[in-house]
Symmetry: C3
Subunit: 371 residues, 3 copies
């Protein structure tokens, strides 16, 4: 693709993100773009991007033929001087995300229904559904328009799947799960299986059957081998446009609001809930019944419990506000030194007490002598 | 189901759990029960439950038609006053678990063997086995009576599976694994695969072949995408009625005793073992060769190693008894303040030392003058 | 197998590891070996091993018929005295690993291509490929000589798999992934799926398509249900002979060098990289862009970020050098006591200050009286 074509495509689809470009200034500079690359790995023909002026050095040495730059004239001048074609945007990474789509789309599944797919006669299929080899779709399932079911997906009875949703190979959707439109379920994810409910009794653990349902709203993504359980009663719900990374666990009755990000290996115990725009770092653990406010962020490995106020940035286990945590953890390694200092101080104070006792005794005896 | 029918069923099957009910007092109050719900989400027609008097407020506002209550007359009166039918039990949640089964059972697999299942001629099948589409069962496998194999399960050679055990879609059972009766293996779980055994050598890591076996005793449950490895020699064993949640990892040679609970994302390294009735919270890690006593409980994210005395309640990493941990973690955030206080004290003590030195010098010079 | 045959096999294949044996001294002692066992579980007929003299007691009571011993004459004498056949080696566990292979090999898949495998006509198959039931291999895939594909593996388009690599049942290889020779991918692992890339925008999270590739070099092993993502641009790469345990997550663009060990449930966030011979304990988390030097070791549950110097042994979160961490964590539980001591010291110092003030006042008044 010519750089000029790229400009044209992006300007028509993402006009508000394309502020200016080198093409205007140097119409002769219109490289052929054949690949996408990180700025430091770019080659001739690569399109790349940087997010801010701290990457200025990369612009000075990159082999990229074109870059998406932030709105800084100095960076633009630098690129121009090196004959690198550029586009300037207020959001370079976002514009790069749109640019990638002009170069690459995930390889599609063949259209139509593979003859080996086992589909119950009661299944309702809308138009343009693609179903891969050895998929198994049980009774009462409904698939919306343009749904893609990759090979070896299993869908238990009475599941609904919304328009244009993609289920990658090997994911398993359990009974009565509701999946919205434009969702992506990655390979090996298991949605709507039985929550972990056992009640202690004299005879051992008694199973609490999980009669509830799991609901994924529109545009949810669920990572590879992630698990989202259904509850004993009520719903487990993942809100609109929330994105869950690989190996995330969401327990029964959790409520995740729209636009949340759960990084890999996060675990949310039963009944916990998040507000909107929450971001949980990798391996974060959320105790059951935790109530996480809007826009909370939790650093990797944080352990959350109780009620977390909106907008908090939390770290550590049990989690604290990040400033508190960073200050405390900066001192942590000095604990042995502090412990020693404390013992020294104790000895010094004890010695001071003795000395003062002596001075007092002296003073008293002196007083009595002076009397 | 009528409330009176519910009473009748529960009283016949779980007589010891049904102490009394409103039906005796108000035979006219016999609502139709059509759903199960948490107390705060209940609607007309819902059966719900509460576990103790701290939920009294919920009884005052719930829309439920019937509730299972603990043995407290005041709560019973409250329900009666609101025309809510009730059952009183010494174990309300346990009774609710039995009540759920009268309303809901997991949707069964169609009976019989799906024609697409690939079953080696040497496989021994007992009566009433159900096998789903595209299941693959290799040589020498034995399936007990009433076993359910959901679609796309793979069973490697020489596996034994006990009566009435259920294998959900997409789980994989590796060679020579022994699974007991009444077990449930959830989707995507992998049982009996090779343990992680590599020996360092000058040429790199050399694989230690894993010739041992994995054994699950009766009534074990294994969560979605959990993994239980087989060892190089000997056994990995999960005891009777132990329950493992999603994404749990159990390494080679681990020995889990009966009636343990491992919450989601727990990891047990090779050769670790637990006593009976152990409860490990989410994301707990157990170091290799750890020896966990009976009835130990570990809080979420705890890191266990060494020998843990029976009955201990452990938290933190490395784990401590929970009282110790809670006290220490309550102080943790004051570390920066403590550090500062310590420095102030050092300065104050130094200044005191100087002052005392001066006083001593004064006293000495005074003494000498007095002489 | 006779002990003498074992000696003969090991001496011919692993000559440098077999230093001496009891057969030389006692040619009459040549037991039949029928099983492999840990030293404390060994029975008559078992071959076992110990790694050092701290297991001397086990040699005195084991029922094993033969043991592999370290190079210590006293242990050898002990075994001889008990009529246990022995082999002495500078690396007993390594020699045991080779011995195991003479007793046990994983049960092979039937040779040839199962008639139910769905293989795109464009797939290139080398000689001696074994493909199990219901495997799905899509367009443009190339399989090397002696590759084994177990049942229900799905391979997306344009994947290359090197000679003698084994893919266990239920693993899923995504588009354009490159897998080297002699690799083992365990059940449920997902390789080369889309990295977790979303860019914030006013409208919500916008997907950054993942156009890069995942590369596994030769002799890599990937554990059950582990996930290794492909990046937006460039490569995710796992180096030669590196071994990843179950449920490990490797994010987009990670670079793992040769001969690394990642224990179960490790998570590496996007763009992190390791040097060679790195060992990460269970549940370790690696923040994005972390740069881990050669031969770094991290204890279970450590949280790594930033740059980790080669050879460091790290523990804790955020991770510290292990000596620092162990000293600090040893003090951690004394925090409440330290806090109390600190308060006492503050009071004591305050009281000392008062006393000194009084002494000074006395001295001054005395001075003035003396004047």
């Amino acid at each position: 693709m010519k750089f000029s074509q790229l400009i044209q495509s992006l300007s028509s689809d993402q006009a508000e993100l394309v502020q200016t470009s080198s093409l205007i200034e140097h119409p002769a500079c219109d490289p052929d773009l054949t690949s996408l690359a990180a700025i430091e790995e770019a080659q001739a023909g690569s399109l790349s991007y940087i997010e801010g002026s701290k990457f200025a050095r990369a612009v000075q040495i990159t082999q990229a033929s074109a870059v998406i730059l932030p709105m800084q004239a100095s960076l633009q001048q630098m690129a121009t001087d090196r004959h690198i074609a550029w586009i300037a945007s207020s959001e370079p990474k976002l514009l790069f995300a749109y640019a990638v789509r002009l170069f690459y789309q995930p390889l599609p599944l063949e259209p139509g229904i593979h003859p080996t797919a086992v589909i119950d006669p009661t299944v309702e299929l809308a138009e343009d559904v693609a179903i891969g080899a050895y998929a198994v779709i049980r009774a009462g399932v409904k698939l919306g328009r343009g749904v893609t079911i990759h090979p070896q997906v299993v869908i238990y009875p009475e599941v609904n799947i919304g328009d244009r949703t993609t289920l990658h190979a090997g994911c398993i959707i359990h009974e009565r799960t509701q999946i919205g439109r434009d969702c992506v379920i990655h390979s090996g994810a298991v949605i709507g299986a039985e929550g972990f409910g056992f009640v202690p009794s004299a005879k051992g653990w008694v199973k609490l059957e999980q009669s509830g349902v799991t609901v994924l709203e529109d545009q949810v993504e669920v990572g590879c081998n992630a698990t989202i359980d259904r509850p004993a009663v009520g719903e487990t719900r993942i809100g609109y446009n929330s994105k869950l990374d690989n190996l995330v666990h969401v327990g029964h009755n959790c409520q995740i609001s729209p636009n949340c990000i759960l990084a890999a290996q996060v675990g949310m115990a039963g009944g916990s809930k998040t507000g909107q725009w929450v971001i949980l770092g990798g391996q974060v653990g959320v105790a059951n019944q935790t109530d996480i406010g809007d826009k909370v962020q939790a650093g990797a490995k944080a352990g959350l419990h109780g009620t977390i106020a909106p907008g908090s940035i939390m770290m550590g286990n049990p989690a604290s506000p990040y400033k508190t945590f960073l200050k405390a953890s900066a001192i942590y390694n000095r604990l042995p030194a502090m412990h020693q200092t404390l013992r020294q101080l104790q000895q010094q104070v004890e010695f001071l007490q003795q000395q003062i006792q002596e001075l007092q005794d002296q003073a008293n005896s002196h007083e009595s002598r002076s009397d």
